[in-house]
């Protein structure tokens, strides 16, 4: 209850901020699979933004040794990280701590971000007993919303994958699928989408959250699966 109260108070504060002055951290994770209960994080990539400005030097990229040895073939294919490569990676605990201090209380942005957050949340809770509950913005939701508003062409509705969305917006997407490259592409997508929002006079964070904060309960993992075109 107290937590909830704090959160809503924070939300009120943050909602009044201008998007252009707000710190964002664009995140992407690489996973052993998409099952929230069985699978694990194998890499975290993140890049900072201030408003629409992408801070190229302000990046975070770590691969970790997953707590489960089980590997899905398909995720190996997606990320091109082989099990033997992962063996050499360090433990997750210190990396999660580093990630938390990197992300601070920035708004977390990502493509189907709720999935990444739910994995991060679980790993962070179980490994270092910390409640990771950031405000978040899903670029896919902004994209779909802009289509609905008629700002982006209706035929874009079929695009779900990061790659297709990037291409539809004229962003180079040649190096997809390592977590940091994906985060960087997501950041560029977010950068462009913010311009469309600005055209609609959407300047503050509250409006942005209303459009793009994923409702974690009702969100189905199917979206993420579609997004990865599995």
């Amino acid at each position: 209850m107290i937590k909830f109260f704090r959160k809503s108070k924070e939300k009120k504060l943050i909602s009044q901020q201008m998007i252009n002055d707000t710190n964002f951290v664009v995140v992407d994770t690489e996973l052993t699979g998409l099952n929230e209960f069985k699978d694990n994080i194998i890499a975290i990539g993140a890049i900072k933004m201030i408003g629409r400005t992408i801070k190229i030097g302000d990046i975070f990229y770590r691969t970790v040794s997953p707590s489960t040895k089980k590997f899905r073939k398909e995720s190996i294919m997606i990320h091109e990280i082989t099990p033997s490569e992962l063996e050499k990676c360090p433990e997750i605990k210190p990396i999660l701590k580093e990630f938390i201090s990197f992300a601070k209380d920035n708004i977390v942005v990502g493509h189907c971000i709720n999935l990444d957050i739910s994995f991060l949340k679980r790993e962070i809770k179980s490994n270092i007993n910390y409640n990771f509950e950031p405000f978040s913005v899903d670029t896919l939701l902004i994209y779909k919303w802009l289509i609905k508003k008629g700002i982006l062409p209706p035929e874009f509705i079929k695009n779900n994958s990061l790659e297709n969305i990037a291409i539809s917006l004229g962003i180079e997407a040649k190096e997809l699928h390592d977590a940091l490259s994906d985060a960087y592409i997501t950041a560029q997508i977010f950068q462009k989408l913010l311009f469309y929002l600005a055209d609609l006079k959407i300047f503050n964070v509250g409006e942005l959250l209303n459009i793009a904060c994923p409702d974690i309960c009702s969100y189905k993992n199917i979206a993420k699966k579609e997004a990865y075109q599995l």
Binding site: I54, K55, I56, I59, G170, D178, S181, Q188
Partner: protein, 633 residues
């Protein structure tokens, strides 16, 4: 390394001035860099707005830089991928001087002010690039001093490492058989004034060498019988060096064997001899030694030999980063000496001239802007003779100028294809005729007359009675300055060749023929600057003939030059240097030097500077058109 950082580094590496920096340094820049996206139509910087806090490097798209003056937009520039903007305002901290608007969806890398200032302080290449390419006011003295120091300390080594042995070796090798007597050998050395003699065995193989030193030590000092065969006193084995080896290698061998002579071998055969004296001469191969050498020559053949080192000197100066104006000054000095020497020979051969005269250099020679040996462009003025001696005087000078023309040809100066030479009776005239010519050209400025004035009005007295030259110049400057129609014709000529820049600054090059896809530096770049400055000089009665000296003299006299002097000087120096480097390469390959460069062969930095230069030129032409509106046809 992280992929996205790597991508930025790769991009910056292809962009001046970052291309000069190590990966490590570029990496340190990259981590400070942000990425911004500007949809088409976004104003990135505003005229009179806040100073720029970043250097903007365009990753994708393009921008227009323009100023709005009295409700009219004046486009200053278009910039595209790899170009940058925001520098001047960043450096000066002044409000932005122009609007910058994205003319396409544009992505820029933003490098913060502090990072750029750090680079400028630390890396001279970066400083050099920004200072130059933004044609600046920030060029300070300390920087220039640093540059010149650097080139002085490395001069000698560079020459040793870049000059092949065959370039300076004595080609004539005199040899004797090993059984020749010492007396006979010494006689041969004296007759040929050489300091060494190669000794051959009965099979014609070089087995040893005798030198002055051997004669002194082994013969004179030890009272040896001079009828003994030379093989008794020769030094052996003889040390050889390949003709293609660099002189440095020769120095190493001489030191190693403690000898002063090496036999130069080319394709397995004896090619010549190189001595420590040759090396010393090479190290002392300065313009001064050449000039001194020219001074003592008494024959045309001597001059031909003495002037041989000119190309090596030019090559060395280019590789040491000398300014084009310094190089042309040295070439002018040397060529002037050759001409003076030849004129002296002519006086010696044909007797003293009957009346005072002055030898004039015209065109590039008159402007002291010659590069490699170019056509003869010259003329002769003589004092007005009395009617009775007119014929004899004319006859003398025609013979005189013919002698000079042929001697210059022997020294490697081909005749002028348009026959603009003193040997042409038309251009060998008393001063009153010259005045008549000049006034005709100025008062009836038609086709040929305009072209002639462009060549002749750069006249410069080289030898003889220089008061004749002064007299003619007084006359010219006096009659030309108010001749608006004539000056308008000159202006018309100066704007005829538009700088070769299309939209987005792609080079317009030759469309067909031998020089397809090449850029004619002379016609498109150098000549328009020369023409504009000549015109201004005639307007303002400037007596200097070289373009750079004219600019200096015009600084306080001409408003356009006052505003643009530094930029024009820089652009001119740059074009001249580019041409000189190109021609030097051609000379090295044994080709005839020309003015056609391949823009694709230029580095990114050179391309950028060339574009800047052409933009300046275009601006100057626009000013000229504005000033001479009525006369431009």
């Amino acid at each position: 390394m992280v992929k996205i950082i790597e991508d930025v580094i790769d991009f910056l590496k292809s962009v001046p001035p970052f291309e000069f920096l190590s990966d490590e340094v570029i990496n340190s820049v990259t981590v400070k860099t942000s990425l911004e996206y500007y949809p088409k139509g976004t104003y990135i910087l505003l005229q009179d707005g806040a100073p720029s806090e970043f250097l903007y490097v365009i990753k994708k798209g393009g921008v227009k830089v323009f100023r709005r003056v009295e409700n009219e937009d004046i486009v200053i520039d278009y910039r595209s991928e790899g170009d940058s903007f925001g520098f001047v305002s960043l450096m000066s901290g002044d409000k932005s001087r122009a609007n910058v608007v994205a003319i396409d969806d544009t992505i820029c890398y933003l490098i913060p002010k502090d990072t750029i200032l750090g680079l400028i302080n630390k890396y001279s290449e970066v400083r050099d690039f920004f200072l130059r390419s933004f044609m600046n006011i920030y060029l300070d003295k300390g920087y220039r001093e640093e540059q010149s120091k650097r080139s002085i300390t490395s001069t000698v080594d560079k020459i040793l490492f870049t000059t092949p042995v065959e370039d300076i070796a004595t080609k004539e090798v005199i040899s004797v058989t090993e059984n020749t007597s010492i007396k006979e050998a010494a006689k041969i050395m004296c007759e040929n004034s050489i300091s060494s003699l190669i000794i051959m065995d009965s099979n014609g193989i070089a087995v040893g060498i005798i030198t002055d030193k051997d004669l002194r030590k082994k013969v004179v000092a030890s009272a040896r019988n001079v009828d003994e065969p030379v093989k008794n006193i020769m030094s052996y084995p003889i040390i050889k060096i390949d003709a293609k080896d660099f002189c440095f290698e020769a120095v190493v061998r001489m030191l190693k064997y403690n000898i002063h002579h090496l036999l130069v071998i080319k394709n397995g055969k004896i090619h010549g001899i190189i001595t420590n004296h040759d090396i010393m001469m090479l190290q002392g191969l300065s313009p001064i030694t050449i000039v001194r050498d020219l001074e003592i020559q008494q024959t045309i053949e001597g001059l031909i030999n003495a002037s041989k080192g000119v190309n090596i000197i030019v090559g060395n100066l280019i590789s040491q980063g000398a300014k084009a104006s310094n190089i042309t000054r040295i070439i002018t000095e040397i060529n002037d000496r050759i001409v003076k020497k030849i004129i002296q020979f002519a006086e010696r051969e044909l007797g003293q001239p009957p009346v005072p005269y002055c030898w004039l250099a015209l065109g590039s020679e008159g402007r002291k802007e010659q590069t490699f040996k170019t056509d003869q462009d010259n003329a002769l003025i003589y004092a007005d003779p009395s009617p009775s001696e007119q014929e004899a005087v004319q006859k003398y000078f025609l013979e005189f100028t013919k002698y000079i023309k042929e001697s210059l040809l022997k020294c490697g100066f081909p005749p002028c294809p348009g026959d603009i030479m003193a040997s042409n009776p038309k251009w060998c005239q008393p001063i009153k005729t010259w005045k008549k010519y000049f006034s005709q050209w100025i008062y009836t400025p038609k086709g040929e007359n305009i072209n002639l004035s462009n060549i002749f009005f750069d006249f410069r007295g080289i030898y003889g009675d220089l008061s004749l030259e002064e007299n003619l110049r007084d006359y010219l400057l006096n009659i030309v300055k108010d001749q608006k129609v004539f000056l308008g014709y000159l202006a018309n000529l100066a704007v005829r060749n538009k700088p070769p820049l299309g939209f987005f600054k792609t080079f317009v090059v030759e469309k067909s023929g031998e020089h397809k896809d090449k850029l004619n530096l002379k016609i498109k770049g150098i000549a328009p600057i020369v023409d504009i400055i000549r015109l201004f000089s005639l307007e303002k009665s400037v007596r200097e003939t070289s373009t750079l000296e004219r600019i200096d003299s015009l600084r306080n006299k001409h408003t356009v030059v006052r505003d643009y002097a530094d930029e024009i000087i820089y652009a001119f120096e740059f074009l001249m240097l580019l041409r000189m480097r190109h021609q030097y390469e051609q000379v090295l390959q044994g080709n005839v030097p020309d003015n056609f460069i391949d823009p694709e062969s230029l580095s990114n930095l050179e391309k950028k500077l060339l574009k800047d230069t052409f933009q300046l030129l275009s601006k100057l032409q626009d000013i000229l058109i504005e000033r001479y509106k009525l006369m431009i046809i």
